[in-house]
């Protein structure tokens, strides 16, 4: 079990960040004070669920329903941990 899944953590985007869809490039972006991170694949949808009200288990549940058969439970908690390590989720 990852650190994210082990606690009652409800991930939320750090206040400095903006998550937005970029229609020009057809990509989801995390915009920071001095940089822009292009989110690959479904990462934007995962981050979009980090609104401070859902637990990690809740996020995993919603994604599992959206993407049946995808390795959501195995991969999403580690991904959230990584974003927290960058300081992008609180």
């Amino acid at each position: 079990m990852t650190a994210a899944a082990a606690t009652g953590w409800c991930p939320a985007l750090a206040p400095a960040l903006m998550l937005r869809h970029d229609p020009v490039r057809g990509a989801d972006l995390l915009v920071l004070p001095e940089r822009v991170v292009v989110l690959e694949g479904h990462a934007g949808q995962i981050v979009g669920l980090c609104d401070g009200t859902r637990t990690v288990a809740g996020i995993v549940g919603e994604l599992a329903a959206r993407f049946p058969g995808a390795p959501v439970a195995a991969e999403v908690p580690a991904f959230l941990d990584r974003l927290r390590g960058e300081g992008w989720l609180t």
């Binding site: 206040p15 400095a16 903006m18 937005r20 970029d22 020009v24 490039r25 972006l29 915009v31 004070p33 001095e34 822009v36 300081g87």
Partner: protein, 369 residues
């Protein structure tokens, strides 16, 4: 070679909202010929520029100047950017920022603040800025931004008169609760070039400062982001200025001229296109100014023509090549492979005794002898 098709979309817009400023820093990145207030773009013109920029792909704008707080319509410009989906960072001296103004800016959608600092010592900072009380205003501004919960970065331009205090400058950032400290060694264009004899550091100073920064970096890892902008006069490596000409970002000056970088106004015959005459998309994609040195498919002279690094540094900075050699197509003299590199070696040689002329402070008309 430049790929076929339209150029990559720009990510960022530097909006120089005004060239008016309460500070007079001798290394200011504004051109020597400062734009007049009477010619500044109006609120609705900036609103339109931001809408066009967003449609072009811009996701980030630095609202800068001069001092952008001198624009009474700054809140409306922030709101226009936010409405267009563009992330806003205010780049300010801190002078003129009070709680009422910050609350209004935040309500309009302001996302983050970058605050300039000249020195860790108040008296020395005020002397460099050419304004008594400037440092105290910055300290108040930093506290307000933190209290408002906005991300805060310090921007320090480094030179002979503050490099020996780089550790104290980082400590100041820590004490003020910042998220980021940008330590930008002076780039010698415009006012910086005019004041080069007073600002150019020594090799020893730079070596000590680098060590200090690396020690602080270890201690502050994960808490404060330390960014070191290289002193290209000393490193022997040319910088891919602005990530390449017309590649990543664009600058709009107070009177609407659009430039690939803030220093490019100094280049001869560039004839910068203006948002009052042309659509931003045409300016980015098709204007002669933005295509002149884009990519590597332009007549590079000197060793760049066959150098593998040309795809990384695009021959270095055109403005620097012009400023130092009079020819903007030459290899940037900062590159150790440039035949003009000795021009810099004579300036940065440990044997060269630094002179210390007084600053020519940045003021309208001050650069005219």
């Amino acid at each position: 070679m430049t790929p076929a098709g339209p150029p990559a979309r720009p990510w960022a817009l530097l909006a120089e909202l005004t060239h008016a400023c309460p500070l007079h820093c001798p290394y200011c990145s504004n051109p020597l010929e400062l734009a007049r207030r009477s010619g500044e773009l109006r609120t609705e013109e900036w609103t339109d520029v931001l809408r066009q920029a967003a449609a072009l792909g811009v996701v980030h704008t630095h609202l800068s100047g001069g001092e952008p707080l001198l624009r009474p319509d700054l809140e409306r410009i922030v709101a226009a950017a936010e409405a267009a989906g563009v992330y806003t960072q205010l780049v300010t001296s801190g002078t003129g920022l009070d709680e009422t103004r910050l609350t209004a800016l935040r309500a309009a959608g302001l996302r983050s603040v970058q605050l300039s600092v000249q020195h860790s010592d108040a008296g020395a900072g005020d002397r460099i800025a050419g304004r008594p009380g400037a440092f105290a205003a910055k300290e108040r501004a930093a506290a307000l931004v933190r209290a408002a919960g906005l991300p805060l970065g310090l921007n320090v331009v480094l030179h002979r008169d503050n490099l020996d205090s780089v550790g104290e400058l980082i400590d100041l950032g820590e004490a003020w609760g910042v998220d980021r400290v940008e330590l930008a060694n002076t780039q010698f264009y415009g006012w910086g070039l005019l004041n080069r004899a007073a600002l150019l550091p020594t090799r020893d100073q730079l070596a000590r400062a680098r060590e200090t920064v690396e020690r602080r970096r270890e201690r502050l890892a994960g808490r404060i982001d330390l960014v070191w902008v290289v002193p290209d006069y000393f490193d022997g490596v040319a910088k891919p200025c602005m990530g390449g000409w017309g590649a990543v970002s664009l600058t709009v000056t107070p009177d609407g001229a659009v430039l690939p970088c803030p220093a490019a106004a100094s280049l001869p015959d560039l004839d910068p296109p203006n948002v009052r005459d042309h659509a931003l998309a045409w300016i980015w994609d098709d204007s002669p100014a933005f295509n002149r040195y884009r990519g590597t498919d332009w007549p590079m002279t000197g060793p760049c023509g066959t150098c593998p690094r040309r795809e990384e540094d695009f021959g270095g900075c055109r403005c620097q090549a012009y400023a130092l050699t009079g020819d903007p197509t030459r290899t940037d003299p900062a590159c150790a492979l440039s035949p003009d590199h000795p021009l810099l070696r004579t300036l940065t040689d440990p044997e060269s005794a630094p002179s210390s002329p007084p600053y020519v402070y940045r003021r309208p008309g001050a650069s005219v002898p």
